[in-house]
């Protein structure tokens, strides 16, 4: 690449990032207007977003984007100046336009523009103009993207040629072309249809659940192209569609799908209403572009004035390098403190302590840079809930609380897709239709809640709904049928609900409009566990379900508590440590790695780490017991020696240690020695089986079940 091309590439990347942010603002503004039509601030925000995008797109010569955004901007301008009023479908069209903007942006990276995207631009453009009370003829501005209005035959009837090629996952995604083609017959009459299986697979080659079909259809109809195309709207991602007008009697398509130059044949077909198409467009486009830089400078000034918090753009890898450096600094500082103590120099000890404090501050600051409020990723669910609930005819309200709870940025990205899947699951299977809810006396709208908060060194995210709840009996029956559990297994509620995370558990009955990105419940669980988290379910049949995801706050540095067992150093998170006591007498009994002891009248389980990790050698005469707080209550950890607080930089363990439950990572002590970081929640799970068998854990239930997010029984 030449130097100029490099500069342009970097600038273009910056534009895309900025545009992505603008789209987020745009969508939020649109959703706000939908709830509150007279929200002037939201209207202005939406207009500004569209206007800024158009201006910057013009700078980069993105014609298709400029043309489309122009229509969006014009409609918003008319709306905010009250030149036109909101129609029932205005907001839906604008939200679709926002999606189209996203697609157009994505196209910038592709070598060639896509036909389907261009067609959708045209279709939506017509709708946007119609909402402004204008005729459906395209404005002079959209030259290259527009196609010629279809030749209209006698009686206003037109033959449309529809070529539909299905994507391989359509059926798996619950989309059957049969219903869409049946619907076509309500728009007109299908004069010809040819159905083929691409590649003509025989029985041995056939993928029975994949879709191999392609169709060649001729439809005689008085409807417009947009109406015909809209028939297949829901198939959008799972098919390739082209709709073209056929010149009556000629049997040939009149325009090239996607529209390129005017052909001689079609010029003669243009009616009067299309004549403004022939106005040369170039002067207008370049005039727009010339004014765009000035507009843009004004816009950024406005925006800066409006922003309360100022942001700068930082490269993620630079930030990671900084956090790593601080990690090393933490280790070095601990080393210096150790040396200071060994040297018995009071002044050195004091200096080392001062450095330690400063390093802690720097550590917190650096980690804080990586933390983003989880509310940012929650907000995109508003759109999903709105769209899906409209699609399913359900009335659902999304409540988001704890949006300012902060989480490490890298984790936010990994947890987003699983959360989306859980939300869609609740919408799909959890919340009932309006009729069902009214019939069972449940309040409407149905409630879907996203709640996040910090607790004992973790971040908790809950997805809960007040819908049908899980059917324990049905889940167990299905699991037995699939051979996942033996028929006579004794499982408590939590264990039964956890069965839905087993791969292969979901059945064809659940094939709906969920987008097929391969995110099933088993992938949700594995994603959560990959982040060293846990996922739990509580549910009440008829009342609702709550799914709780617990994740560590950060993957980088924690305040630790150092202990040792048989000469091996173990670190646990300082936040969960409650108290340290001498080993109670009852811990000396028995041979097992776990048991229970009496803590001021309460029965608390404990784990003997020496036995659990099978350290050899005799235990020292005086062992210590650390009482820690866990999700399920309290837990005791029996160790040899306590070494106190220790700032711990977490280094990941190699992949061969993945199967070891109970160790979350490793760290390097100031002395250069390696210490292991305990995963207390995993340890607890590991021994809870044993404890349950001995009846010690019967009183312990997941705290989630009594969470206030489940609606109470209406009575």
């Amino acid at each position: 690449m030449t130097r100029d091309e490099e500069i342009l590439a970097v600038a273009r990347a910056g534009f895309r990032d900025e545009a992505a942010e603008l789209l987020v603002q745009f969508e939020q503004a649109l959703l706000a207007i939908e709830q509150q039509p007279d929200d002037a601030e939201a209207m202005n925000c939406a207009f500004r977003a569209a206007h800024t995008m158009k201006g910057t797109a013009g700078l980069f010569g993105c014609e298709a984007l400029v043309a489309f955004t122009h229509d969006v901007e014009s409609l918003l301008d008319d709306l905010r100046s009250n030149a036109v009023s909101l129609q029932p479908d205005t907001m839906s069209v604008l939200l679709l336009a926002r999606d189209q903007l996203e697609d157009l942006l994505a196209e910038l990276d592709l070598p060639e523009p896509s036909v389907a995207v261009a067609q959708r631009s045209e279709a939506l453009g017509v709708q946007l103009r119609a909402l402004r009370g204008q005729q459906a003829s395209s404005s002079g501005h959209a030259k290259a993207a527009a196609s010629i209005p279809a030749a209209v035959g006698i009686d206003g009837m037109q033959t449309w040629r529809i070529a539909l090629k299905m994507g391989p996952d359509a059926l798996r995604n619950g989309l059957d072309p049969l219903s869409f083609i049946r619907y076509l017959t309500t728009l007109g009459s299908v004069t010809k249809i040819e159905t083929q299986a691409v590649g003509a697979p025989d029985l041995a080659e056939l993928d029975p659940e994949g879709c191999h079909l392609c169709f060649d259809i001729e439809l005689l109809s008085s409807r417009s192209r947009e109406e015909v195309e809209q028939t297949f709207e829901f198939l959008a991602d799972d098919c390739q569609l082209s709709v073209s007008a056929m010149v009556s009697g000629s049997g040939q398509p009149a325009d090239v799908a996607g529209g390129v130059a005017l052909t001689t044949a079609s010029v003669s077909d243009i009616t009067e209403t299309g004549s403004d198409m022939l106005v040369p467009v170039t002067p207008l486009a370049s005039a727009e572009r010339r004014s765009a830089p000035n507009d843009r400078r004004q816009q950024t000034k406005d925006r800066r004035g409006n922003d309360e918090a100022r942001f700068i753009r930082v490269r993620a890898d630079k930030l990671d390098a900084l956090v790593d450096m601080i990690g090393e600094l933490v280790i070095a500082s601990s080393g210096a403190q150790m040396v200071a103590q060994q040297e018995h120099s009071a002044r050195f000890v004091e200096a080392a302590a001062r450095i330690h404090d400063l390093v802690q501050g720097a550590r917190d600051g650096a980690l804080g840079l990586r933390m983003v409020p989880i509310g940012e990723s929650f907000s995109r669910f508003q759109r999903v809930v709105r769209d899906v609930s409209k699609q399913m005819g359900k009335d659902v309200e999304l409540q988001i609380t704890g949006g300012d709870t902060e989480m490490d940025k890298s984790m936010v990205e990994t947890i987003s897709d699983p959360l989306m899947h859980l939300v869609r699951n609740s919408l799909d299977h959890g919340i009932e239709t309006l009729e069902e809810r009214l019939a069972t006396g449940k309040p409407t709208p149905g409630r879907l809640a996203l709640h996040a908060y910090h607790e004992s060194g973790s971040i908790i995210i809950e997805v809960s709904d007040d819908g049908r709840g899980l059917n324990r009996a049905r889940i167990l029956a299905k699991a037995v049928e699939q051979g996942l559990v033996p028929p006579d297994a004794q499982l408590d509620d939590e264990a039964v609900y956890q069965l839905i995370f087993r791969p292969g558990f979901s059945t064809a009955q659940q094939v709906t409009n969920l987008s097929g990105r391969g995110v099933g419940m088993d992938v949700v669980k594995s994603n959560v566990e990959a982040l060293r988290g846990q996922i739990r379910i509580a549910s009440q049949l008829g009342h609702g379900t709550t799914i709780q995801i617990r994740l560590p706050l950060t993957l980088a540095i924690i305040d630790g508590f150092l202990t040792s067992v048989a000469g091996v150093s173990y670190v646990l998170p300082l936040e969960i440590v409650g108290e340290c006591i001498e080993m109670p007498a009852e811990c000396q009994l028995g041979e097992s790695a776990s048991g229970c002891f009496d803590l001021r009248g309460e029965v608390v389980p404990y784990i003997n780490l020496r036995r659990l990790f099978k350290h050899s050698g005799a235990a020292p005469a005086r062992q210590s017991l650390i009482v820690v707080r866990t999700t399920m209550g309290q837990l005791g950890l029996l160790v040899d020696r306590l070494h106190g607080e220790y700032q711990t930089v977490i280094k990941p363990l190699g992949s061969i240690f993945q199967q070891v439950h109970g160790i979350a990572g490793s760290t390097i002590l100031g002395s250069g020695e390696v210490a292991l970081i305990l995963d207390v929640a995993a340890l607890e799970e590991r021994v809870s089986g044993e404890l349950q068998q001995r009846g010690g854990a019967s009183a312990r239930r997941v705290a989630v079940a009594t969470a206030p997010t489940l609606s109470t029984n209406p009575s």
Binding site: L171, D176, L178, A197, L203, E205, L206, L213
Partner: protein, 94 residues
């Protein structure tokens, strides 16, 4: 269809839908294709058919054609008839 032709006969016990697609495919891959003159399907009791079912029929036909054999649909329920006509595949019904 002469009376002395040796045909494989099958009557699916289930609907011709995606839920049963794989099972039907396995069943038909069995000795159904072993008969020299083709296959005759009795779809008279099929209540529901979807695109996966249509694909199965097309695939069965492809398997037979490759052997120089033919597929006959001896009986078609109203559901099967409607689906095939919607897809313009009524030729299969002859």
């Amino acid at each position: 269809m002469a009376a002395d032709q040796i045909l494989g006969r099958a009557k699916p016990a289930s609907d011709l839908t995606i839920m049963h697609a794989e099972a039907l495919r396995q069943a038909w891959l069995g000795d159904l294709l072993a008969h020299p003159d083709g296959v005759s399907l009795d779809l008279g009791d099929v209540q529901v058919m979807d695109s996966a079912g249509v694909q199965l029929l097309l695939a069965l036909q492809a398997s037979l054609v490759r052997r120089g054999q033919t597929l006959h649909i001896a009986e078609a329920s109203p559901a099967v008839d409607e689906v095939l006509r919607t897809y313009g595949l009524q030729a299969l019904l002859c």
